[in-house]
Amino acid sequence: MKAKLLIGLAAAIGLAGTTASLVGVRPAQVGALVGMKSVPHLHQPRTDDEIPQGPYGDIIRQGEQIFRDPGTYAAAYVGNDLRCSNCHLNAGRLAGAAPMWAAYTAYPAYRSKTKKVDTFAERLQGCFDYSMNGKAPPLGDKVLVALETYSYFLAKGLPTGEIIEGHGFPPLPKPDLPGDYTRGGQVYAQNCASCHGAQGQGQSSGGKVVFPPLWGARSYNWGAGMTSIESAANFIRANMPLGLGGSLSVQQAWDVATFMDSQVRPQDPRFDGDVQSTRAKYANTPMSMYGRTVNGAVLGDPAVTPPARQMPPAATTN
């Protein structure tokens, strides 16, 4: 049961569809793995100057553009202020930050989230439905083709059907104490608020969000993999604060993930009209706060929950 749940979580965050940990890497080494220490046997994705000229290279470049700025280059499908590169750091290249090269080789895969075998393009659709609080581009759409082409470009040389070192977010051990909202709020104020804002609203530059909103109407919705406290803790410990991955303790990572994932955010697009019924179907895990009462409100209750798929007015005509 537990293994099944974990498999679901791993699949939900778009990784290899399996929970196999980083080969030979203990959790204590997580910071070193994704920090400054060099790990020479990790896959080295190709660089921009290796993108070929011509129509094939043009689509790779388009995919990279979308990846950095989906709100501009895939506007019809994006309903919030996130960028792919907010979680998939270094534009999908960084090990331990769900790199696209490792994700590419992991599909097709059975996913408990969809209860079927998903292709890589179908997995990308899920990102738009949930993490981007938007709507999925149809299969074959140029947005999906470009993102898949970019990922394929980064994955050159990797085997399929293998666990790729550096995939996903490195799993953390359980904390000594259960994740705690109040302690997490303190961790947030000290380590996260200077970039993400005291209210989790994120920060912009030149009219574009650089530090993503972590909750609220412009963040990921309740269907996103990042609503799993475990996934969030894994990501945070390995990668946050930016450049200082591994600096938070395991306990702090779980606490601040609990804090972040206990906030209001857009509705799960699979919402069936009843929060507890929706929780039972799609979020039936102690790692999700959906349907739980926090600060006097039930998370997911339509009265306090922004709608799913808040598409910009301009995008709805596309």
């Binding site: 896959h43 700025d69 104020a189 450049g243």
Partner: protein
């Protein structure tokens, strides 16, 4: 240990940010700052403009940074660091110490109010170096785990709020000097934990390349590829 130090300096940064949060600069403050820039505070010491220029362009070729385009709080905070010694600078410490806290705020308000002046021709840098710099800036480096500069300074290097300064069009020599100082572990700034981690993972060639790239960016919106 490292974690405790990181936490405490970030907490300090937040406290400083809260304490020094400026009121919106009004015209009188800007005018006072303009006079300080032109004339300084005493006859035998020149004003800010003698090095940074009255239009805030700085002197990119000799590594004197452009101030136009930075925020009032960024400039005022750095002036305070120079004055207190939190940021070590033989060049800036005497000037910053001459200014009262109110005058530092006035000078900051003035330079922050300026439009970004036309960019002087950037010093020639090899195209290969700029290409490498662009790759590091936008994509980081998987070999060393370097986080892309763009993650904090934005893909167009315009900086983000009070957290990260604008880099587009900044003096290459200045950026290089600062990165070298961070790389050597400069304390300088409570938020410096981020830059020490970044620069600590960069080679001197990397630093040179990134500096050349950001200096080459125009002062208007430029799009990453």
């Amino acid at each position: 240990m490292r974690h405790a130090a990181t936490t405490s300096i970030i907490a300090l940064a937040l406290a400083l940010a809260a304490a020094s949060h400026p009121a919106r600069a009004d015209d009188a403050m800007i005018a006072a700052g303009r006079a300080l820039a032109a004339n300084g505070v005493m006859a035998e010491r020149p004003g800010c403009a003698s090095c940074h220029m009255q239009n805030g362009a700085g002197q990119p070729d000799v590594g004197i940074p452009r101030l136009a385009g930075l925020t009032e709080q960024q400039i005022a905070t750095q002036l305070t660091y120079f004055a207190t010694g939190a940021r070590q600078s033989p060049a800036m410490a005497p000037s910053a110490r001459q200014l009262s806290p109110a005058q530092r705020q006035q000078a900051a308000a003035y330079f922050a109010s300026l439009p970004i002046p036309p960019q002087p021709d950037p010093l020639a840098s090899p195209a290969a170096s700029r290409t490498r710099g662009k790759d590091l800036y936008l994509n980081g480096d998987q070999r060393t785990g370097l986080i892309a500069c763009a993650q904090c300074h934005g893909t167009t290097a315009l900086g983000v709020g009070e957290f990260s300064p604008r880099l587009a069009g900044q003096s290459a020599s200045y950026v290089e000097e600062q990165l070298r100082a961070w790389r050597k572990g400069a304390v300088r700034d409570p938020l410096g934990a981020f830059m020490r981690a970044e620069a600590g993972g960069m080679s001197l060639e990397d630093i040179n390349a990134v500096a050349a790239y950001v200096a080459s960016l125009g002062h208007t919106e430029t799009q990453a590829p």
